[in-house]
């Protein structure tokens, strides 16, 4: 009965810091970043894109204990940018990438739905997918140029 609420595995507690940065005193241009309440999903993705950045000499992450919901990211740069700056850069890259992927999904789904010619039976029963540019559903007796 003394277990933590299950959602504490992925939501930040009161006053808990999402990210803590400790600069390395022995290695130049290096820092250890502790990210709370995140797992391999974010960690591996960041690590992957950090390694693609030419300013980065080293990037690696670990989840120190499977029952403790945080990960540690270690970054060393070549000195042209601080580890925090490159991390920021990578996060921005990832954000753009996710936005692009979302756009592609939208495009492809629209195309595919038309191709198959089925709109209503697709998808969870009844509900239409909310889209960014979603226009108001057509009113039953509204006129449109195709009605003539």
């Amino acid at each position: 009965m003394n277990a933590l609420p299950r959602f504490e595995l992925f939501t930040l507690g009161d006053g808990e810091k999402a990210i803590e940065v400790v600069e390395d005193t022995k290695i130049p241009n290096a820092a250890t970043i502790r990210v709370a309440k995140q797992d391999h999903t974010l960690a591996n993705m960041i690590r992957g894109y950090l390694l693609k950045n030419p300013k980065v000499l080293f990037a690696g992450y670990k989840v120190p204990h499977p029952l403790e919901p945080h990960f540690i990211l270690k970054i060393q740069t070549d000195g042209t940018a601080t580890p925090v700056e490159v991390l920021q850069e990578v996060c921005t890259t990832l954000l753009t990438l996710v936005a692009k992927i979302e756009g592609k999904f939208k495009e492809q789904f629209q195309q595919k739905e038309l191709e198959v010619g089925l709109e209503e039976p697709y998808g969870a029963p009844g509900g239409r997918l909310p889209r960014g540019d979603y226009t108001e559903p057509r009113r039953a007796n509204a006129m449109d140029y195709l009605d003539f």
Partner: protein, 291 residues
Amino acid sequence: MEEPTLRIRELQKDRVDFVMSGVDLAFANSLRRVIMADVATVAIDMVEIEVNTTVLVDEFLSHRLGMIPLTSTNCEEGMRYKRDCPCLGFCRYCAIVYEIDVRCTEGEMNVTSEHLTMIPPDQWDHDEEASAAEDILAKRGKNFGVPAGPATDPDPQRKPISLVRLRKGQALKARCIARKGIAKEHAKWSPCSAVGFEYDPHNKLRHTSYWFETDEKAEWPLSKNAIEEAPPGDVFDFTAVPEQFYFDVETTGSLNPQEVCMRVRLPVPACAWKLTMQCRVWQSCKISLLR
């Protein structure tokens, strides 16, 4: 940065098969993890059993009830998490209440997800104060909270989900409270029953080595994704990296594949965004400390 590409090969009401390229293996894998565990749905989370004379114990039944996929169209915006809701206990914005009341009077019978009846919120939520957020309810899709099955699917072949089988005289009566959640908390909230993920179908990169009895090629037939890539040449390219990723997402019926895929934008950027913001905060702190 390389331009990502995406091609949907097949779309069904509960399945989507797509090929992605122009991203890292790390990114593709994170996408897979997000699809499986970060998309919010509704599932039964609390069961109050009043009568249970079935052959299954209370816990067993509660678990089975929890696993029923409930229609969760636009759950992300149409419902609150319990932890974010100001109500005490539960209210119409953070819970859906069901009742199941079955008694077998003749022969044998199957109790299925069809026996679960949703109780309108007016009958259990009398909190006047909370009704300020009426627009949340308007965001919910059609059939919100209805168990995925014949009631939500026009397919005549669609069967409801079995819970337990009763004999004459046996009965089950319970009240169930469904809540919004994600699969990181419990797998019952996952919108997917399976996510297929593959790269390098010819094993050109030699990320794996196949165990075989006598003939490797005969014992390990190529997957259907192999036609998408040229078969390997004679020379091993040790600088090659995974480039194309094959996904096959199968949903449980709680969400459609479109919504499952489009929702990925929420969790990933949310945390990446938080991270960038925190970086900025941290940097400005440092600057002020130096001064």
